[in-house]
Structure formats: structure tokens, C-alpha cells
Subunit: 444 residues, 2 copies
């Protein structure tokens, strides 16, 4: 399954506007930027993700014959509009922050420069892709920061919002620093390490829990991880200890046990003792079950003897903030900067660049949002990634993006590493940009 590339995965208004643009000959170059208006209450920063899927989508953009036929038979579109759609290819330029880059409100992370109908038509899917993966990478990064360096595994597929959400959440969380995922397809599509053991049903299907463990170990001798909370956690840990010598004779090492319910810290301590006293000091403890970054912090602070964590629903749905207040807005058309002034939703006009300044200890100090034409100090964060509809460089490896993300998290000032969000980052709107906004307002 590749992410959906049909052009019809869009809002109808994109097509009605395209028709008007085509009929009026409004084919000049338009500049749209994607940015987040404000942070969710429980976020100090966001992590850009989803660019590769956006570039795939733009490279593959075309209307298939069956789609064109369907559009025609709706009776909504003129011949000239349908002809335009039939020959549609994306021929524009894209500038973007690399995936894994930490960013803040009002900072564009993607800029599309293309003939107006093209740049308009791609809005919905670009937002759909960037909103979701950025949402998940940003949420997952919080677990990474709270997880004390222990391996985290994405277990969220079953409650992800559909197939693509499950697959792309595995990608975004791996990018943000997770160690892997339970989603098999993410292993096949993105080469992400996959993890998995057994469910409660496996234990229940056997009349005897110990026999269930034995059967599993025989089937997966290198992956002997037992789920021990189906009936009584500590009793099951004793069964694992009792089984271990027999497995050892077969050359099977008990790799780990998994806890999935109850007071995880308390169970982990008791089970750790049972395993240690049972001559299984190498057997690790994996914990799962409604975990999120707050639970991780609590378990880490309490020094619960847990070796790795599976994080599911809370991460994969970004449960405390399941969307971003993001926008993809027209900033310039035919060389004329423009700006929306709707109440509470005004935007900064023109094509912009973001510069980042660093402190003496190399951590982030402040960002400046300004026009591309204006001089800036610090690192520019937006780079050209596509010209005339073609990628400028081959897709980077996901492991490279993951390293970049790790570096970014390491450069966060301590105030932004906290799960609480009391110290907003310093984001400056340059004077030339403020002047431009005033000038644009006076022209309308």
C-alpha cells in the first residue's frame, strides 16, 4: 500500500476554483505556504514530518481516465476545466524544512511556487499529509524525551484512524526516535524494525498458560517474549521461570516478558525479583497498556525496572491534541504579496524564510521569520527540494532523517524539553515583514 495519490482526494472547492482560474486565464505563479498558526496547549515545539509523501504526491500528480470520466458525468465542470485536468502535471518549485526539523508557530515549513491552479489544487492533500505526520512526530518526540533513552515501540495501528494513519504513524514515530513498530507493513514499505510477540487470546486459546508459553517459544525460538497478565501476572512470571530450564535444553533463551495491565511499576518490581531469583536476569521486561509521555516520565522517575515500552493509542492518535491549527495560505500571486485578514486568522504575506540563532551552548536561542529577499542572521531553515516538478535530491533514508531529528531534540533548550509548556520559544517577526503586512493592508 502506497499513500493515496489520487487527485480526487481533495475538497470540491479546489476543483471549482481551478475551473474559474482556467476560465479567467489566471495561470500566473502563486506562492502558498504551509504553517501552524499556534501550538496545541500541550506542545512546546513541533517536529516537521511528511515532506517525502508530499513530494511523492506532487511527482505523481495526474487525473486518471476513470476519474476524469466521473468528473465529467457530474455535470459540474466545463470542457476547458476537464481538458486542463486531463493534462495536469505538477511543474512547480518546492522549498521546505527537512523532516525532523523542530519548528514553531508562524514559521512556514513548506512553500509551493507554481501556476495558480496547480498550487491551489494540491492544498488539501498537502495539508492532510503534513498535518498528520507532523502531529505524530511532535507527539512521539515527547515520549522520546520522557522515555529516559529506553526503546519505545509503536503499538498503535489498531486505533489509528484507518490504514494510512497506521502506516504513516509508524513512519513518523520512528523518525522522531521510536525504535520500531508492530505494524508489519511499515517494515515492508519503510524498512522500519518490527516488533511483536503474543496476545491474550494466545494464552486463552490454550487450556494451560505454561503450555501456551512453551508453544510460542517453540514457534519463535529467537523471540521468546511472553505476555504474562492474562490471569495473574506474578503467577505467570513463576510459570516462565519454571519453563526456562526446559527451553534452555532446546537452546531457547527467555528474552522478555510483557506487562499490559494493572500498576506497571509494582508488577515490574515483583516480576523482576521473580525473574532474577529464577535465574533469568537477562530476561527483560516490556510494558504496554495505555502508555503516554506522562506515564513514561512517572515510570522512569520511579525507577521501575522496565526495559522498553510500547506506546499505542495516545501517540498514534495524538490523543491530547488530535490536529494542528495549520494552514496552507496564498502569500503571493503574480508577484503581488497578499494576506488574509479574517478575524483571528490573519497571516503574514509574501514568501518567507526562517532563520535560527543558537546560544553559546549550541542550543536553539530564537528564530526570525522574514521575507526571502530580506537579509537574515542564523541558519536558514527552508531549502529548495523540488524544481519544475522534480525532486532535487533522491529521497533521503529514513534512518538519516531519524538522526537529524535526534540532533534537533538534543539542541532543544531545557525549557522546551519539559512536558509542561510554560516557556514559549522566542519567535521574531522581522521589521521588513511587519512593514510588508502594513503595506499589503493599505492596498486592499
Amino acid at each position: 500500500m502506497n499513500p493515496c495519490s489520487t487527485v480526487l482526494l481533495t475538497d470540491l472547492y479546489q476543483l471549482t476554483m481551478v475551473q474559474a482560474y482556467v476560465e479567467q486565464g489566471m495561470m500566473d505563479s502563486a506562492v502558498f505556504e504551509f504553517f501552524v498558526r499556534r501550538l496545541p496547549a500541550q506542545r512546546s515545539f513541533l517536529m516537521a514530518a511528511g515532506l517525502e509523501q508530499v513530494l511523492d504526491f506532487l511527482e505523481q500528480l495526474r487525473v486518471r481516465p476513470d476519474e476524469l470520466k466521473w468528473l465529467e458525468q457530474t455535470g459540474r465542470f466545463s470542457r476547458s476545466c476537464l481538458d486542463y485536468l486531463e493534462n495536469l502535471r505538477f511543474s512547480g518549485d518546492v522549498h521546505a524544512m527537512q523532516e525532523g526539523t523542530v519548528f514553531f508557530p508562524n514559521e512556514p515549513i513548506l512553500r509551493v511556487t507554481a501556476p495558480l491552479p496547480q498550487a491551489q489544487l494540491v492544498e488539501t492533500r498537502i495539508m492532510n499529509l503534513l498535518n498528520f505526520q507532523t502531529l505524530i512526530a511532535s507527539k512521539a518526540a515527547r515520549s522520546v524525551l520522557a522515555g529516559g533513552g529506553k526503546p519505545l515501540i509503536d503499538f498503535g495501528l489498531r486505533r489509528a484512524h484507518g490504514a494510512e494513519a497506521g502506516l504513516l504513524a509508524a513512519r513518523a514515530s520512528y523518525l522522531a526516535g521510536f525504535a520500531g513498530t508492530s505494524t508489519v507493513l511499515a517494515g515492508m514499505e519503510y524498512d522500519i524494525p518490527i516488533y511483536g510477540t503474543m496476545a491474550h487470546s494466545f494464552v486463552q486459546a490454550h487450556k494451560d498458560e505454561k503450555i501456551a508459553f512453551e508453544h510460542f517459544a517453540l514457534a519463535q525460538p529467537k523471540n521468546a517474549v511472553f505476555l504474562i497478565d492474562t490471569y495473574d501476572t506474578e503467577a505467570a512470571a513463576h510459570k516462565v521461570v519454571a519453563l526456562a530450564p526446559r527451553l534452555k535444553q532446546l537452546g531457547i533463551v527467555v528474552k522478555a516478558v510483557r506487562l499490559d495491565s494493572g500498576d506497571l511499576a509494582d508488577h515490574a518490581r515483583k516480576v523482576r525479583r521473580i525473574l532474577d531469583e529464577g535465574d533469568l536476569p537477562q530476561a527483560q521486561i516490556l510494558a504496554s497498556g495505555n502508555l503516554d509521555e506522562y506515564q513514561l516520565r512517572r515510570l522512569i522517575a520511579g525507577e521501575a525496572p522496565i526495559d522498553s515500552f510500547a506506546v499505542g493509542t495516545a501517540m498514534t492518535t495524538s490523543a491530547d491534541a488530535p490536529s494542528l491549527d495549520c494552514a496552507y495560505k496564498l502569500q503571493e500571486y503574480a508577484g503581488r504579496p497578499c494576506r488574509k485578514r479574517s478575524e483571528g486568522k490573519a497571516t503574514w504575506p509574501g514568501r518567507k524564510q526562517v532563520y535560527r540563532q543558537y546560544r553559546h551552548d549550541e542550543r536553539f536561542d530564537y528564530d526570525t521569520v522574514t521575507m526571502v529577499q530580506a537579509p537574515g542572521t542564523g541558519d536558514p531553515l527552508l531549502h529548495p527540494v523540488m524544481t519544475k516538478g522534480r525532486r532535487l535530491i533522491p529521497p533521503p533514508k529514513l534512518t538519516e532523517l531519524r538522526e537529524r531529528a535526534a540532533t534537533q531534540l538534543a539542541l532543544l533548550p531545557d525549557s522546551l524539553r519539559s512536558l509542561e509548556c510554560n516557556h514559549p520559544y522566542d519567535i521574531r517577526i522581522s521589521q521588513p515583514l511587519q512593514d510588508l503586512a502594513l503595506a499589503v493592508d493599505q492596498c486592499v
Copy 2:
């Protein structure tokens, strides 16, 4: 785009368990049920949705050659497991509540009866499909109840969690009573009415707002709906009035205006007056912009002169409860009822039926959850829908399911129609089922 049907969209543990089942010859019949453990805090009821996609998935279940090859090269699976997967088809039975049925915690809405490895392997995708559409139908139903009978339109695609979420949210919200969606693909795939007009960028791309409106009306003469909040809402309403006579000469009727920011009730009143005084009494007002069921209730109670509403992110992400505490649990294997007893996650064993009793006024009175073998009074809610891997009836029309959902909402007692959730519904666990749970516990 059809919903993803690859078997590899699953958790790795399904495959590791399948391997153990195959190797141990555990091919007897297993019964799994999907149910919700408890309601989200802000829900009084849930609405079942997603069954058709589950049945499609089961009918199409197979491992493609490239997937099999990939599984083989991971080195994780035995020859016998791979052979089993190569020939895999779903040959089981399914019982389910019809889509659009209102249901409550601990009531199975789907029961799968199939050889254990099959019934196990399909868990992840079944949960993924039922969790999401049920989540969205249940959330959308709240807007339907709060919306005073006015048409509601799904505008959520851009912040839906990926492509499939956008498409299936359009389906689930239409099923629950929405009038349509902005998602074009949902029109093509599911024949859902599609709606759309213009974005702020359309107005911005023109130097003059009035010319923007004129251009749009010329391109979409039957769909002359103008977005009027880009700069100044009331000023734009006056421009619509000024433009109307010229459009009338061209045979174009101003159909509606859309408000998307600010105090919607206040703007609606002012704009209504401008339109009425401008001889445009037929022009409707459509409102959008961060709407949810609470905003709808407020606007309806305040008698804001708004004719229809677009509801986006809050509905399409089920923002106040972005997942259900749902489970797909083994209830019986080889004729032996079973039950999980994990702390806080215990389940009722055996294959179950739900009976619904009605009051004298035909509203729902209470439900009883019992075993299929036990007698029950009231309407049984689970029905056979698939036998030996084949649907028993052709897929129903979405409009039929939508009518069913409307009937169900009409039968809700008033206490459950409120947006507040103060009166839990009466769900009874039958005495025979309680006895069975005790008996099962004594056997383990």
C-alpha cells in the same frame, strides 16, 4: 482508492501467533467478539459503523506473492507458516449489528467464528476499521442531534489522519446523518453528495473581492456561493448585493454566502439583514470554522440565521475522544468459553447476543447481554452477515444505512439525546452469562 486490503497491515504478533497455531495444529473454531469496554466521557451512546469495509476485507483476504516473499526473507517465519499464509482465505462466519445501530459498552457489535489462525490474523484491521468509523459516526451523530435539522457538511479531509481517514470519515458522517461532504473521492467511491465553493486564496488571488465573486459565479453559475470573510465580512456582503443584479442578467442566482471566522451569530444577523435589504432573501448563509456540536447547539439556541453548517476537524478527528476503548477478544475456542481477567480489562466469556427492550413510546428502554444459547426478550441486535467467507446479502446502499441510523437516533430516550452524559443507559448482564463467567474462572 479502495480501503487497504493487504494482510500485512497488521501487528507482527498476529503472524507470530499464526505460526505457533499452525505448528501446533490449533485449527479449531475460535469465536472473537468486538466490543467497547466503556464510553468516552462525552458520549451517551455509540453508533456502529464500518461493517461493510470489514466484510470487504474478509472477502478479499489473501497474501500477495510479493508480500509472501518479503515475509520469507525476514527469516522470522517457518515454511509451514508461509505455506499456510500462501493459501489463506477467510472461511469463517460473521454476526454483526447493522451499521447505524446505536449500541453501548460490553455489547458485541461483531462476532467472528473461524479457524483460530484466521480469526486471529484479522484482528488488527477489524479493530482499525470498526474503531474509526464507529468513532466518527458516534461523534457526527452528536452534531446531527444538536444541529436542529439543518444540513451539516463534512469539511474535515485536510486534518483527517491520512487519506483513508478522510474518505471513511465522509462515509461515517453521512451514515450518521450529515448531508454530504467536501471530499470529492467520497462522491466517486460512495455516491455521497459533495459540496464546495471557494477558499480565501481565491479572493486573495484577485485584486478586487467583487471581481473574485463575479469570476466564481461565471465559472459555477449553479453554485454561486461566496466566501465573504477574507477581509471584512459585512463589506463583502454589500459587494455581493451590488453584484447580484449583474449576475441576475446572466441568469445566475446568488445561492449563498459562507462565513468562516469571528462571531458567527453576530455576522450572520448582520449579513442576513444586508442580504434581505439587498433583495436577496433567497440567498442562504452557510457557516464554517472550528464548529462542533456545542457550537451548533449554541448557534441554534440563539436562533442565528444560519441555514447550514460545515463541520470539519472536531468531527473528523473526534477531537474530544479520538479513540474508543475497544477490544476484539477470544470468547471461545474449540467449544470452550474463555475470558481474560487482566486487571481492569476482564471480559464476558462465550458467544453473546444483545436484546433491546423498548418503552411504551417506542424509545429504547434497556439492553440485555446474554449468551446466544440463553433465551432473551426484546429485539436481538446481532444478525448473521457472512457464512463461510461469503456475504449473505449484497452490500446495502449507504442511503439505506443512513435511514436506519436516523430511525435509531429518533428512538433514543431524551436523556441520551443531550450532549451532556448524565444518564447512563441501562445495560444488563444476564444471570446465565454471569454464571458462565464464574464457571470459566473456576476452570483456569
